[in-house]
Symmetry: C2
Subunit: 222 residues, 2 copies
């Protein structure tokens, strides 16, 4: 059980006593690919990812999704402890994008420790700061970038994450990810296919020219 | 000089020694309406607003603006100390929207105190958290809300801030604020005028029916 502590990104800031308290209250959590992680608004505690991948997304009234953050191994999910965070009171959705193994540090432990431990408080600050930066980037993406660049960036990111150029992504999923509509994604993908950058198959997008696609992602084609 | 401390939102967390250190290094700053507050990327320190109003905005490559945050009396501007914040390394622009009186706590003082003082660290966390929440709201606005609602919300907010229904706002300014284009704003304003909610004059927008405009801002008309 001791080595669970090593998964906690702020473990080096914990006193021996705090470490014990965390270990006595930590819980293991497993999520299947596609499983919802947290009922919206539930404030169970910090989730730390051992393995797998979580997606934090927002859902509009008309059912459109936009991915706000993606969390990977050793990342800390603060949105499952939103009651501890000032003004983070609206509901985000969290989904496990892969089979994920996580641990949960319950809210009351996090709250107790962050009030006394400056290392933990600073760590939470740094997570908030990185997220703030992510959202500023996202707003820039939404407002300024053409959809073909954003889609190219998404495909390159997926290829990198999955380690393959054959991506099992539906047009619907890409639309959700980019806060767009399926028809628009289909049109943009067809354009990328004509340009020889991808090949479209049923339920699959094959990257044919990663160099050009990466250039497009960087917004430097044309 | 002592009462300058009372303007600092986290002053109650400061030890006597820290309070003295802050007072010995604090600087008064005045900005004229329309003046740039900070060369982008400069990391001078935390700015706290006595009186007036600052706007933090992002600028796209093609020159469009979008307002990210508006800061008012007693608000702390963290973006002028971005070197202290993890990953907040890209440049935002800061403009004084009114004549503003502020104080600056230099970066080295902020950095020293936040590393030791959990009250200050928590306060910075709460500011980051509120900003994160603001941006999540903004993304929701951009993606989901119709421009007429967003424009109505902006006009209502301005009327509330200025205490008048005669708003000296150009279409250009409204477009900047909402990350839109002037032509689109002009079209939307004409629509609002036809609906009897505003009257358009040269360089001025007069609110004629605040109840309907507020309803529209809440997205509940039609």
């Amino acid at each position: 059980m001791d080595n669970l502590l090593s998964y906690i990104p702020f473990s080096s800031s914990l006193s021996e006593e705090e470490g014990k308290e965390v270990l006595n209250n930590i819980k293991s959590l497993s999520f299947k690919k596609g499983e919802k992680v947290n009922p919206a608004g539930e404030c169970s505690g910090f989730i730390i990812i051992h393995s797998g991948q979580l997606k934090v997304y927002s859902l509009s009234e008309d059912g459109r999704e936009i991915t706000l953050f993606r969390l990977f191994e050793r990342d800390l999910c603060i949105f499952t402890a939103s009651c501890l965070l000032k003004d983070i009171d609206f509901s985000v959705n969290i989904l496990s994008e892969e089979d994920s193994e996580c641990v949960l540090i319950p809210t009351f432990i996090v709250d107790k420790i962050r009030r006394k431990n400056i290392g933990v408080s600073s760590y939470i600050c740094s997570v908030l700061s990185v997220h703030l930066s992510d959202l500023m980037w996202l707003i820039d993406q939404i407002l300024n970038k053409r959809l073909d660049s954003r889609l190219a960036a998404y495909l390159c990111e997926e290829a990198d994450l999955k380690g393959t150029y054959s991506l099992k992504i539906t047009h619907e999923e890409a639309a959700h990810h980019l806060g767009s509509r399926r028809e628009v994604i289909t049109r943009t993908l067809s354009y990328l296919e004509k340009e020889g950058e991808v090949e479209l198959r049923r339920g699959e997008i094959e990257i044919k020219n990663i160099e050009r696609l990466s250039l497009r992602a960087k917004d430097s084609l044309r």
